[in-house]
Symmetry: C2
């Protein structure tokens, strides 16, 4: 039984957080430095961007969590600290500042940065902001969620309770950005905390499996960031018997983790740059998991499908087209397509051919804020869900002049 | 010596063309039916979309040119004749109409359609327009170029002279659309005619090799159409010794063909939907041809690079990012990037790191109509060029409500 509760990364036992404006961003209303600390070292598992160009903070984080443990997360927005000659040095200095102000060893610190690429990041504002940041540590997930936002328009935090062997556990998270495949100025960052007891190896196994059906099925614009980071920290303070092997407890933990990551994926897609709508594509009947994933991802990634959704235009031919070039092995003469939303559901294509439908009904369905594109691909038994958003004037506006 | 001349598909000896409004489109000012006929059967080679969902005309054309010969091309705009139950029947009927009005056997006809997917195409307006269409056949490449346009804003035709074994030959073409990887309503169609004598096998070899460095390096929005068709017809009336094997003549023909296809690719990219700028990415120093192609294509395909170019913003981090996720095997610490145009050239990234540059100069350079992004990827010996365009408000506008 997984139940949503209020809060974010501070909902599980053993975590405090804060966020402040330290001056990396010129806009003083906008927080730009976040810190999450745990009361004890946590089993920690991460997943990173697969872009060959990697942000310097990722290199430092990889080293620091190589032993499977971490105790703090420091994040700045406003600068990605990527493609800079002194990037690693600055990321190391951020970890050292955490040690100086909290006593947590710098080798137990996860560090992340998000913002523009290729502009040197000064350590000065960060150093200047550390005192205020650490003094305010507490039940303050909201401030941390705000401090990691770039072009996000709403902060993203979420928390759930679940049980492991009858013991109540909690999992919470904050996130920002618009996708694992996403704008490079709007790096995906997701920090998940839990008080469940789980070994680093089992946690990494759960995280690596989860991203395949959560973050990797999210796309705003097919641009994979250089700084994407998912970090899951488990304090173990819930008191459950530590998960050290496969079994019912690991499955229960994975369900809880997926509840968090998929809920945040929907929130991230809905807040994609310039987006007015969340687009969810559900593919079923595929011949393999790979085919299902490719098909769903291709539909939500198509600029033409995205623009049609913006215009509430039931142009299902573009869905067929995106399925056809997806790389998935599909029988195109067996594809059915339906659009649905809170306003109803309408079948627009049967066996790869158009069927008569009411354009008026379709318009009404597609005018809602959350649209589902259902694709039945034939008789296979594999399915997949992917999340994206519409393509709007504002996407172009935001990205036509991001740096100025 | 390849020299540009006036004209299009009627410039080579042995070809006539025309285009009319027959009524597939409601707008009477817009021609929607084109015909190209040759005085004799031509060696003919085609290349088609790799989308699994293929327009019905492609199935019929494949069958008709299977023997390596064709004598006429009929094309309609306003309807893609794709994902329709009676699509093949209609495409066959179009070929039969060509036979009835010109005497050219229907099995020697290339047929193509472009427009919206999944709406039945009536043969009636086409049948009604055939008399006017065939009566007006002549040196009328312009009318044919106009009749195949959909959202194109300018017609595309081009012609060149070259020599084979000292004999003067001519090659001409018309095209429409915005990419082999392109909007599905704006199918890429390119029809090339030449009076050179070349065997069907050698012509297919030349065409298949050419698309790798021409049409396949063009992208407006990464949406591969269901109806893309390139068709090259050679009448042999120039009088050169027929090309039947590899050698100097085939190389000369391939150079002439590439001059035509690459020039049209630039014209197509510059007229991409909503585009205000042609973006050319030139990659050199790659470790393999595949790496060079992937890298160049990824840069011109990135929504973020495209939006930055629209805003004349020298956001080179997005170029690095697109190179990093391109799938190419690149040494990211050896990448140099420069932007250039008619207004000058500016290096913005050296060895994968930002270097100081004048934002004012960069703005001036990026405000031109044709932008080149030069990428030096290290010490390899492979290079590639790809063409695209910027991402603009008008792209969203055009595609947010295409069908209405």
């Amino acid at each position: 039984m997984i139940q949503q509760i209020a809060g974010g990364v501070c909902a599980p036992k053993g975590f405090r957080a804060n966020g402040v404006h330290c001056g990396i961003r010129k806009n003083k209303v906008k927080k730009d430095l976040a810190l999450i600390v745990a009361d004890k070292r946590c089993a920690t598992a991460c997943a990173y961007t697969r872009n060959l160009v990697k942000g310097a903070p990722i290199l430092v984080t990889k080293k620091n969590v190589a032993d499977g443990y971490a105790q703090a997360v420091i994040v700045n927005s406003g600068n990605a600290n990527t493609c800079n000659a002194n990037g690693v040095e600055i990321a190391e200095a951020m970890c050292a500042l955490v040690e100086r102000y909290t006593g947590i060893p710098k080798g137990d610190v996860v560090v992340a940065s998000t913002g523009v690429i290729g502009q040197q990041l000064s350590i000065d504002p960060i150093a200047a902001g550390m005192e205020e940041l650490t003094k305010g540590l507490g039940d303050n997930s909201i401030a941390a969620a705000e401090a990691i936002m770039t072009t996000d328009t709403v902060k993203k935090e979420i928390a759930f309770t679940f049980t492991l062997g009858g013991v109540p556990c909690t999992i919470g998270a904050i996130a920002k950005g618009v996708g694992m495949i996403c704008p490079n100025m709007a790096t995906l960052l997701m920090f998940v905390t839990t008080d469940a007891a789980i070994s680093p190896a089992m946690l990494q196994k759960a995280v690596s499996a989860d991203v395949k059906t959560s973050l990797n099925m999210l796309s705003v614009d097919a641009d994979t960031s250089t700084n994407d980071t998912l970090c899951v920290m488990a304090s173990g303070l819930a008191g459950n018997r530590e998960i050290v092997s496969d079994g019912a407890d690991l499955r229960a933990f994975r369900r809880a983790l997926h509840t968090v990551t998929s809920a945040l994926c929907r929130m991230l897609a809905a807040d994609g740059e310039g987006a007015t709508k969340l687009i969810e594509c559900r593919v079923r009947g595929a011949k393999s998991q790979k085919d299902a994933n490719l098909a769903a991802k291709s539909v939500i990634g198509s600029n033409l499908v995205k623009a049609a959704m913006f215009g509430a235009d039931a142009n299902w031919g573009r869905v067929l087209c995106a399925l056809g070039y997806s790389g998935a092995d599909l029988n195109v003469d067996a594809i059915d397509v339906a659009f649905s939303s809170a306003a109803g559901s309408i079948v627009v294509c049967k066996d790869g051919r158009g069927i008569g439908f009411s354009e008026e009904d379709a318009k009404r369905i597609l005018s809602e804020k959350e649209i589902v594109i259902d694709v039945s691909a034939g008789g296979g038994r594999y399915k997949a869900t992917a999340w994206g958003c519409d393509l709007t004037y504002d996407y172009v506006k935001i990205n036509g002049d991001y740096r100025t």
